[in-house]
Amino acid sequence: MAGLLTEASAPGTTARERTRRSRLLRLVLARAAGSVAVLWGAVTVAFLLIQLMPGSTVDVLLARSSVTPRVRAEITAQYHLDDPLFIQYLSYLGRIARGDFGDSYVLRQPVWDAVGAQLPDTLALIAATLLVTAAGSVVLAVLGANRRRWVQSLFAGVESLVVALPPFWLGLLLLTVFSFTLHWFPTVGASGLGGLVLPTLALAAAPTAVVAQVLREGLLRALDEPFVTTARARGIGELALRVRHVLRHALLPATTLMGWIAGSLIGGSVIIEIVFSRQGVGRLVLSAVQDKDMPVVIAVVLLAATVFVVVNIVVDVLQWLIDPRTRGTGRPA
């Protein structure tokens, strides 16, 4: 409430706007610096993991085919596997910083090309899922924010059930019903819009239920606030009240949650892509894991970590925009 007042009483005074902007900039810079440190740590851990891996890199490269020691030595030299560990680490850091993840051991092509080819399909699935999650949870929460006891337990019950469903099982059920029985959607690996519907539903169900739950509880809390009575006294409709006034208060914990969900979807999409035999990073990384194709695995993991970290910065900025109360300090309250 106090925040809304300060906003209203700030008619675009340039000085104030400038401090606002510089505060936001400082927040973003502080978060970015922290994130670079975390990613540096992740790269270091990745490098150490490769060193600790049972079986040498040369063995993986040769894929168990027997060769003369001379060929072996050539490969060792070619991949700089005989350099001191620290030199290897530095050159590894340098290459990663330039976005060069090396060549896939198995596919014999630059990792970046392999990942890049699969990325659009996965991003489409994740984007569609986030969209459905955001829209679906808001609708469900606005509908379910009702004081009546049976409405409460109905929504709570359905939410717990949906959260407990393993997404890949939901995918199988959707396939059985809508593809194999009703023939509404393609069964395997179609990359059109029709092929996106069922995977999106399977992936979005659990996060939608979780976000809806948090939103609904937030709405119910906000409905007790005095400003609701004020708005009602002004004769506002029930739906407009919820969408325009109450939702903003409930949105804060939900945004944090959405950030976390966006990150976890990168992992979740892998499984769903397998269920629906979709093209995507999931299939790529899964076969890389089975073949111990470390450059590919590490590239995907680091890519996901980067996305995760960027999403978290975006969430912080969003919170800053949604809730004026978090603007005083660098940290959200």
Binding site: S35, A37, V38, L39, G41, A42, V45, A46, L49, L52, M53, P54, S153, S160, L161, V163, A164, L165, P166, P167, F168, W169, L172, L173, L175, T176, F180, T187, G263, S264, L265, I266, G267, G268, V270, I271, I274, V275, V285, L286, A288, V289, Q290, K292, D293, M294, V297, I298, V300, V301, A304, A305, F308, V309
Partner: protein, 269 residues
């Protein structure tokens, strides 16, 4: 007040049955879960087979009963490892001074920066697929959560009168931590363990589903679902029942876990 109670008792009952299945599967069925029968492929539920048979003619009910152990053990093992490891790390961060705290907290940030399932993939890629590596991978993923909760609890207990009093009696730091701090910090950690057990069981079944868990022909719920995938057009039951078993287990665990968490939250305030 009655409603949540009914849920709690139902949840506990389901957990008891599942635990019994995992411990003594022979009590629930006399059928061999791995016995293939080419004359009874993909038989629908009913008749001699309660829940039907799978693509190899194996009895689905028997496989679900025998599948309880591998399906629940990976998740439970991962949570147990993460609980012990995370608590140790958290207590260390809270007790070993600011430098150690900073180092540990930043390392946990690094682990948390990678989306869970991908981190498990990384561990499995390094160690090779299988039940034990899946357990270790899932434990690595959930360890930071336990460490953070344990650290926060220990720090919040630092100034309490009985802790100060124990030091006053001349007790050494390990003694105080072991006898007074740890037992009081354990409530929230255990509540987190129950709640994350459900998520871990889903995650471990996902791993088996994509072939990174126990190898076939092990009767594991996720692996059973993977086998059912190619026969979806012919039969729904091999895909339906193992998944229902996972859902029921997770639902029961979450219900009990939520109740536990509420109790712990209520008692610490």
């Amino acid at each position: 007040m009655t409603r949540p109670r009914i849920g709690l008792w139902l949840g506990l009952a389901v957990l008891a049955v599942l635990a019994a299945m995992a411990a003594f599967p022979g009590l629930f069925t006399g059928v061999d879960p791995d016995a293939a029968n080419v004359n009874a492929l993909l038989r629908p539920p009913g008749g001699g087979h309660w829940l039907g048979t799978d693509q190899n003619g194996r009895d689905l009910y028997a496989r679900i009963v025998y599948g309880a152990r591998p399906s629940l053990l990976i998740g439970a093992g991962a949570v147990a490892l993460a609980l012990v490891g995370g608590t140790l790390v958290g207590v260390a961060a809270a007790q070993l001074g600011r430098v150690a705290d900073q180092i540990i907290s930043r390392l946990l940030d690094v682990v948390l920066s990678v989306p869970g399932l991908l981190l498990v993939f990384l561990v499995v890629a390094v160690l090779g697929p299988g039940s034990s590596t899946a357990t270790i991978g899932l434990a690595v993923v959930s360890l930071p959560g336990f460490a953070r909760v344990a650290r926060a609890e220990v720090i919040s207990l630092r100034g309490r009168a009985y802790v100060e009093a124990a030091y006053g009696f001349g007790w050494s730091r390990p003694q105080v931590v072991l006898r007074h701090v740890l037992p009081n910090a354990l409530g929230p950690v255990l509540a987190l363990a129950t709640v994350s057990l459900g998520a871990m069981i889903v995650a471990s079944s996902s791993l088996s589903f994509v072939g990174l868990g126990p190898r076939p022909p092990t009767a594991e719920w996720g692996a059973m679902l993977a086998g059912s995938r190619e026969f979806l057009a012919l039969a729904w039951w091999p895909a339906a029942f193992p998944g229902a078993a996972i859902t029921l287990a997770v639902l029961a665990i979450t219900t009990v876990g939520r109740h536990l968490q509420r109790t712990v939250d209520g008692s610490t305030v």
